[in-house]
Symmetry: C2
Subunit: 237 residues, 2 copies
DNA sequence: GCTGGTCTTTGATCCGCGTCAAACCCGTCC
DNA sequence: GGACGGGTTTGACGCGGATCAAAGACCAGC
């Protein structure tokens, strides 16, 4: 049952608006936007679908318009780790690598603008401003990855789960009425794959938060944060 | 006792050659190289010195010519984690962030070409090829960080230490005669800060490798890998 | 209704690694 | 020489989270 997903932050707007908000295109003027639209392919992709397989040569690149994706790296013994989550506005794919190092899979039905790598690279040749935006975004992603290195190596399971929930709330909240209420776009085992924990440990920690009255679990995958302060306290440990 | 450092992979060459090999400048022609030299300041920095403090506004940027640096991020409770090591040819600093998110400190006396951020950014405006190199390097660094996320969250102390030694050997080996022999540029506690382990655990694992005959510790901080295959075996676990 | 499948929760047990503590090694200084 | 002091090694012990195992939830299909 994945009909309870409400993760798209807003109903899809017109293609142009959506793309203009993205990392790649906010640096382009109208004429250039038209050019990049000419090579872009708007597509909706269902949950579970894989956009990029590890090792793909010439994998796609895209802008994520709505939905959530996971970036998965396989360990040697077939145990996977989720090294990144992608939200609306994020750039998908590796423009320059000659083969993809990670698998990218859809968590919530997603809208994408897909670009052929070669064509996109060509557009970037003429638009250093867009390329600089990609650079800044790559550095921001690196910063994020390093933040997670700290969390993964130093924090306890308690703190990991609390940190994760705060992070997800920040990115998924309907900015509107119901602050602190959102639907997790992923299963417990996928949360474990993000945090480097087993599914059982994740479940125990989430239950502990519910029992302590810090969160509520109205059902399905939805989560309500009742006590932000105490949750933040656990995350800091 | 840091006279035993032999970490510079080769005796320093002339400034021009050294810089040409680096990430930043291999895309420039001779005239542009001259321009970038004009804004660069060649300096030698002793071990222990701090190049960038967390929070610095307008921190330096530089190319590392020889030596090894560590990139340290502080956790909330004053426990530090080393989120990256920098080797000759690597780019130092954050060109675009308005305040540095990490502290950068010298492990082995280092030669650097230091650039003022504003001037360097200005040079990049006119050299998209150089900027693209920075982008590719940022993506490579991100890839590395994600590799470490896997290691930190999934591997045992045994595997972490083995992986670390293999990595250091790859980067520090005199490519010449003595393959598998190198001097660690850091203390046990710094190794712990890289691997997310305590100093005691690092010590125990290193000792275990020595007892098993997989490595030898001739003294000081030097390490000899006697059995690459078994070391790789432990790293895979 | 019942049955089979997947995901989640809960319990019991084990072991790896953090913690605390003490000894050791190898410099420098007096 | 002996006394320091920082880094390293070794030991004893306890706890957090993995592992193994089983019981619920919840849904799909019949």
């Amino acid at each position: 049952m994945r009909s309870e997903r409400r993760t798209a932050v807003a109903p899809p707007r017109c293609s142009t608006c959506a793309v203009r908000d993205s990392a790649l295109c906010s640096a382009l003027d109208d004429g250039d936007l038209a050019r990049i639209h000419a090579i872009g392919l708007r597509r909706t992709v269902a949950a579970e679908q894989v956009l990029v397989w590890t090792g793909d040569r010439n994998a796609i690149c895209a802008n994520l318009v709505s939905g959530v994706l996971k970036v998965v790296r396989a360990g040697p013994d077939r145990q996977d780790h989720i090294v990144g989550l992608l939200f609306p506005g994020d750039f998908v794919g590796e423009l320059f690598a000659d083969s993809a190092s990670d698998t990218v899979q859809v968590l919530c039905d997603a809208d994408l603008c897909i670009y052929p790598r070669a064509a996109l690279r060509h557009v970037l040749d003429d638009h250093p401003a867009a390329e600089r935006l990609l650079l800044r975004r790559a550095l921001a992603t690196l910063n994020d990855a390093r933040k997670w290195m700290l969390i993964l190596s130093r924090k306890t399971a308690r703190a990991k789960v609390a940190t994760f929930l705060i992070d997800m709330a920040r990115r998924l909240d309907d900015a509107g009425a119901a602050a602190g209420k959102f639907d997790l776009p992923m299963s417990r085992s996928e949360i474990g794959a993000v945090l480097g924990l087993t599914i059982e440990t994740v479940s125990r920690q989430v239950t502990a938060l519910r029992v302590a009255g810090i969160i509520a679990l109205p059902g399905g995958r939805s989560v309500v944060i009742r006590d932000h302060a105490r949750l933040a306290g656990r995350a800091a440990a």
